[in-house]
């Protein structure tokens, strides 16, 4: 059954197209999968059906989310959770909410976003990140330089704004792939959730 609620638990994902299998993968597909975050996941094996685009996307994703300096990793993760909530991507949101919590030990921030909504009270820097991510996700064409003012006011420099922009943009991408090539599956109810 399709998962329908945002969660901090691990969610599975089931493709609507046959994924490439380890046995059937060409050398190019194998190389593209090895450069992806999880070579064995059904999601990346589904994307491997079009190997050339996966070969470009995996290093792009890696650079956007993990390149050092600039915007802190936890803040990139938070921005991707906001984008995923707006787009309705339960799987992406679960993965990146858990990364945020691993980095910050602040699950209450995610719970507030899930339960109260994106306008839940937050400290000023996180508020500015959430608002910018929401604007860029929902209505990029109407944005102006005034949308940067709250980010500047909390001390963000150009590199941090650049990184924030790319994290949000990358999840405009990830959410669309994840939600239209398959669906999220809730963790098995009969299994106690892992600690």
């Amino acid at each position: 059954m399709k998962a329908t609620r945002f969660t901090l638990e691990a969610v599975d994902w089931e493709p609507w197209l046959a994924p490439v299998t380890v046995e059937s993968a060409t050398p190019a597909q194998r190389a593209a999968l090895e450069a992806s975050p999880q070579a064995n996941s059904a999601y990346f094996r589904t994307l491997a059906n079009d190997v050339d685009s996966l070969s470009e996307r995996s290093p792009l994703f890696h650079a956007v989310m993990y390149v050092p300096r600039g915007l802190k990793r936890a803040e990139r993760e938070l921005a991707t959770v906001v984008t995923s909530i707006i787009n309705g991507c339960i799987y992406c949101s679960s993965v990146h909410a858990r990364r945020f919590v691993e980095l910050t030990k602040q699950p209450e921030i995610i719970r507030a976003l899930y339960e109260t909504g994106l306008d839940t009270p937050l400290e000023p820097r996180l508020r500015a990140i959430v608002d910018y991510a929401a604007r860029l996700t929902r209505e990029p064409a109407t944005m102006t330089a005034a949308d940067l003012a709250p980010l500047r006011a909390v001390g963000m420099d150009d590199l941090e704004i650049h990184d924030l922009t790319n994290a949000v943009a990358m999840f405009a991408n990830a959410n669309r792939l994840m939600q239209t090539l398959g669906e999220p599956i809730p963790p098995d109810d009969s299994t106690p959730s892992a600690a």
Partner: protein
């Protein structure tokens, strides 16, 4: 080796070489390289498989238009003009309906939509490529908007 291709994102925003924004982007060389690389393999693949080059250009143009990004829309319309319009038939109609759904309302997607694409002749590879084009242009629009805001900030 051929000369490095021009950077589409910078030309769309109107960024001068060696401007402050160009130097900022140079701090993230893998983003620059693989953003352009994604564009190139999705819009102009050596082997387009069952999703033709005109169809690819039209899909990208529709995403840019539905996202209200005029400069990217005109880039992809120009690419389509070079390639010629794909035939307006049931297949194209099914493809473009799916493009609009993935662009505007990805949460409404359903396995039946994949079956509809298969029924008009798309393979698994073609369906992934179609989805990657929509997802890529959705990324590109937001990256372009954010970078353009930074250049406005610098001019102010």
């Amino acid at each position: 080796m051929p000369a490095a291709p021009p950077d589409l994102l910078e030309s769309v925003i109107g960024v001068a070489p060696d401007s402050a924004l160009s130097r900022l982007r140079a701090l993230r060389p893998d983003i620059v390289r693989h953003t352009q690389g994604s564009h190139d393999v999705l819009l102009s693949p050596a082997d387009p498989g069952g999703l033709s080059l005109p169809e690819r250009a039209l899909i990208a143009a529709r995403v840019a238009e539905q996202s209200h990004h005029a400069a990217l829309a005109s880039h992809y319309r120009a690419l389509l003009a070079e390639r010629g319009d794909p035939p307006p038939d049931k297949r194209l109609e099914t493809i473009l309906q799916h493009v609009e759904r993935v662009t505007m309302a990805p949460r409404t997607a359903h396995p039946a939509h994949i079956e509809a694409l298969r029924a008009v002749g798309l393979t698994a590879r073609d369906i992934v490529a179609l989805t990657q084009i929509v997802a890529f242009v959705s990324y590109q629009v937001r990256a372009a908007v954010g970078l353009a805001l930074l250049t406005e900030g610098q001019a102010a």
